[in-house]
């Protein structure tokens, strides 16, 4: 499936326009908030081993928004490439799936205030990758339709980029030698590595390429819904709830501790 061309088609169709009532009213009337979340990207969104339900940091943020709206939360499992189509087609009201804010994406969807920040990093076999210059000539696995894929293709033309459905699949390719490194948000890679039974063989390469912000994705032009989401996020930070959620997944007692260097409201 060629994601860019599909996205283009979706955008073109989307601009054809269709009159919808205000989404916020629709959500309240239905009593259900449909949020697209990852099912394979711990700790943002993943299938819990015990409950077989999707849970994670993104899911807790989504729960807070549903609570604020006083409606039930319904999660729609998604992969990176389906996030924009789900919003544009109205199959989900929000995307809470480690969704990086980019100008390109802003043409098709709206974003809330960022609630997470990270940078593009790499996992490779121990000692095999220590500086960006070494990327030339390597085969690097990425997730289809992510900012990391786009960035590598644009800035590292000598690197062969291989796109996979999601990060765990890319990691499998790394294990099998199909690629020599994989690239994603550092936070996601740290968590993935921490959960890997064979983590002793791999490491997070000690450099970061970019600074990226993750936010809730919304359908275009839903000002009231966007405001409600933003208000909820600001309240989460104020009440200390945002830190609690962060610490539950990245705090000092977790498998992949990562100091919190970003607060909601730091970037717009």
């Amino acid at each position: 499936m060629k994601t860019p061309s599909l996205l283009l088609a979706l955008t073109l169709l989307g601009t054809a326009g269709h009159a919808l009532a205000d989404r916020l009213d629709d959500i309240k009337k239905a009593g259900v908030l449909r949020v697209a979340a990852f099912d394979s990207n711990p700790p943002f969104g993943f299938l819990d081993a015990q409950t077989h339900q999707i849970s994670g940091l993104d899911v807790e943020v989504a729960q807070a928004i549903a609570k604020k709206l006083q409606v039930k939360l319904e999660l729609v499992a998604t992969n990176p490439a389906n996030r924009i189509p789900l919003l544009v087609a109205g199959k989900a009201d929000l995307v809470a799936a480690n969704f990086t804010v980019t100008d390109e994406r802003k043409k098709q969807v709206d974003f809330s205030l960022p609630y997470f920040a990270s940078g593009q990093q790499f996992i490779a076999r121990k000692g095999s990758l220590s500086k960006p210059e070494q990327l030339a000539g390597l085969r690097v696995g990425v997730d289809k339709g992510t900012t990391q894929e786009i960035y590598l293709r644009e800035k590292y033309s000598k690197t062969t980029v291989v796109a996979y459905d999601d990060t765990p699949l890319a990691f499998t390719a790394l294990r099998n030698g199909n690629v020599q490194a994989i690239s994603q948000d550092g936070s996601k890679l740290a968590a993935l590595l921490a959960n890997a039974p064979d983590k002793a063989k791999y490491e997070l390469a000690p450099f970061t390429l970019t600074r990226e912000y993750q936010a809730i994705g919304l359908p275009k032009g839903e000002a009231r819904l966007t405001k409600t989401v933003n208000d909820t996020l600001v309240e989460l930070e104020k009440s200390g709830q945002a830190r609690k959620i962060y610490d539950r997944w990245f705090g000092p007692k977790t498998k992949a501790p990562l100091p919190r260097d970003f607060k909601i409201g730091d970037a717009a």
């Binding site: 989307g14 992969n79 999601d166």
Partner: protein
């Protein structure tokens, strides 16, 4: 380790979150295939008979329709129905129904050709003999032509049903939690057991398909 893996995930692989009212896994694959299979069979029979009995105009319309449907990849049709129908026409169909509809329509198109071929294969003499006995064309079809024709078609029907069952795995593209989708979810969480998990997946499909084949063979041996 294989045992813990099985113990932790087998229920999810087999029926998803059924206890929470969200069937998935092998059970959902079965449900989708059964529903789509029955619709496709019905559509194929009606379409094939219409191709044989209908007037030239009806036949031309049906032929065009079949040609278009056969030229579209199932994956694309599913994607279209799920993401593009809401945008174009504001019709919102849930994922499972989208997959059932897409599989039913495409397989009905294929089956209608098998039905037509099966009917065509019965000699002209049979038609004439039936008419000589005073039967109408429809009576001849019902009592003389269809019984042996259906039996001759059975192998291609079984073929098509098996294809349909395997194609139901394409439901992953719209996030429907069928067998392949949940196996991928589990594999992504467990990370290091792809061989075991996808081996189990292969065994699951193998069992389903060979059961279908066995049933087909038994039905073929039954007296009409």
């Amino acid at each position: 380790m294989m045992l813990t893996l099985l113990h932790d995930n087998l229920d999810y692989l087999l029926w998803g979150n059924l206890t929470r009212g969200q069937p998935g896994g092998l059970l959902l694959t079965l449900g989708i295939s059964l529903a789509a299979g029955m619709l496709a069979t019905l559509g194929g029979l009606v379409g094939g008979v219409a191709l044989c009995m209908g007037g030239p105009r009806l036949c031309r319309v049906l032929d065009t329709l079949v040609q278009i449907l056969r030229a579209i990849p199932v994956l694309m049709l599913i994607f279209w129905c799920y993401f593009l129908l809401p945008i174009l026409f504001g019709i919102d169909i849930p994922g499972v129904l989208t997959v059932i509809a897409a599989l039913a329509v495409i397989n009905a198109a294929y089956l209608s050709q098998s039905v037509k071929a099966g009917i065509d294969a019965i000699g002209d003499g049979q038609w004439r003999a039936a008419q000589a006995l005073g039967m109408t064309r429809w009576q001849a079809l019902r009592y003389i032509i269809l019984p042996p024709a259906l039996r001759a078609m059975l192998p291609s029907f079984v073929n098509q049903w098996i294809t349909l069952l395997k194609d139901s795995s394409l439901a992953y593209v719209v996030g429907v939690a069928e067998f392949t989708f949940v196996a991928t979810q589990i594999n992504n969480r467990e990370q290091v057991y792809p061989l075991q998990i996808f081996g189990l997946l292969a065994i699951g499909y193998l069992l389903l398909c060979s059961t279908l084949e066995w049933l087909g063979r038994r039905a073929g041996r039954m007296p009409a």
